[in-house]
């Protein structure tokens, strides 16, 4: 059980908490606020910290909950934007087959290999950040936070049907973006 030391907390944890937050909220000011709020909440509640988990995990748990609150607030604003049904005309043609430029082309790579190039991850992240609003939030919660669809629906106040539409669109967009900006360069 450690004693309360502000300098040590900030020095040990602020950067990693910030990196975690900014990956998920895409806004550096919002991320900094979330990190600050996390430290304040932990500081105030230190008496309740029993040391059953590590200090680091405890701080991360507080931050994760604050991020979910952030998503929920954003989602409340955005709930009106959930597509009623899947908008066909963009990705698919009249017969619901892939339309250009969304038709998947062969990438000519070994799909089993893990890509190590730093530049690839930069492109992947850029493409991921292009996913806007509720689509982006849902996608992040699923693939970065490993949350399950039931949890996501509950946290965001959306239906499973909304969820599938959002994930479906997100995947098609992300795939297209990566094909264009990396694999078929």
């Amino acid at each position: 059980m450690t004693s309360l030391n502000a300098e040590k907390w900030i020095s040990d944890y602020s950067d990693m908490l910030y990196r975690f937050a900014i990956t998920r909220v895409n806004d550096s000011e919002a991320a900094k606020d979330l990190v600050q709020e996390t430290f304040l909440a932990a500081w105030r509640n230190f008496d309740n910290f029993k040391g059953e988990i590590s200090e680091k995990n405890w701080l991360f748990t507080i931050l994760k909950n604050k991020i979910i609150d952030y998503y929920r607030k954003a989602s409340t604003r955005l709930v009106q934007q959930i597509p009623e049904g899947f908008n066909n005309s963009e990705f698919f043609d009249d017969t619901e087959h892939f339309a250009q430029p969304y038709q998947p082309n062969e990438w000519g790579v070994d799909y089993n290999q893990t890509i190590e190039k730093k530049e690839f991850y930069e492109v992947l992240d850029k493409c991921r950040k292009k996913l806007k609003d509720l689509q982006g939030v849902t996608f992040t919660m699923k693939y970065l936070d490993g949350m399950d669809s039931d949890e996501i629906c509950k946290e965001l106040g959306i239906t499973p049907s909304n969820y599938w539409i959002l994930i479906h669109r997100a995947k098609i967009q992300l795939r297209t973006c990566l094909e264009k900006n990396w694999f078929l360069q």
């Binding site: 502000a6 300098e7 907390w9 900030i10 020095s11 602020s14 950067d15 910030y18 990196r19 975690f20 900014i22 990956t23 900094k32 990190v35 600050q36 430290f39 304040l40 500081w43 105030r44 899947f86 066909n88 990705f91 698919f92 017969t95 619901e96 087959h97 892939f98 038709q103 998947p104 082309n105 062969e106 990438w107 790579v109 799909y111 893990t114 890509i115 730093k118 690839f120 991850y121 992947l124 992240d125 991921r128 693939y143 970065l144 399950d148 669809s149 599938w164 994930i167 479906h168 995947k171 098609i172 992300l174 795939r175 990566l178 094909e179």
Partner: protein
């Protein structure tokens, strides 16, 4: 009741997400398999989707650039001490 076996690319790509989460019905699993058998675009989509998902998992640990400045850190320390 026999429903059509042929599904569209739109339906197939949607079903891939459900299959990924183990939430696909047996009937849809068959329809998806049949569509993939016939459709090269969706076959490519499926492989590419898996590849993307695999690499998304390590996105978190890759970015080492983001740090807070010393002033920002000092400011956070001050705010805690004020409490």
């Amino acid at each position: 009741m026999k429903k059509k076996l042929m599904i569209t690319c739109k339906e197939a790509t949607d079903m891939l997400s459900q299959k990924e989460e183990g939430k696909i019905s047996y009937e849809n699993r068959l329809k998806l398999w049949y569509h993939l058998f016939l459709c090269k675009w969706c076959r490519a989509f499926k492989k590419q989707d898996s590849l993307i998902i695999k690499h998304l998992h390590s996105l978190d640990t890759r970015d080492e650039q983001q740090v807070l400045s010393e002033e920002e850190k000092k400011s956070m320390i001050e705010k805690l001490k004020q409490f």
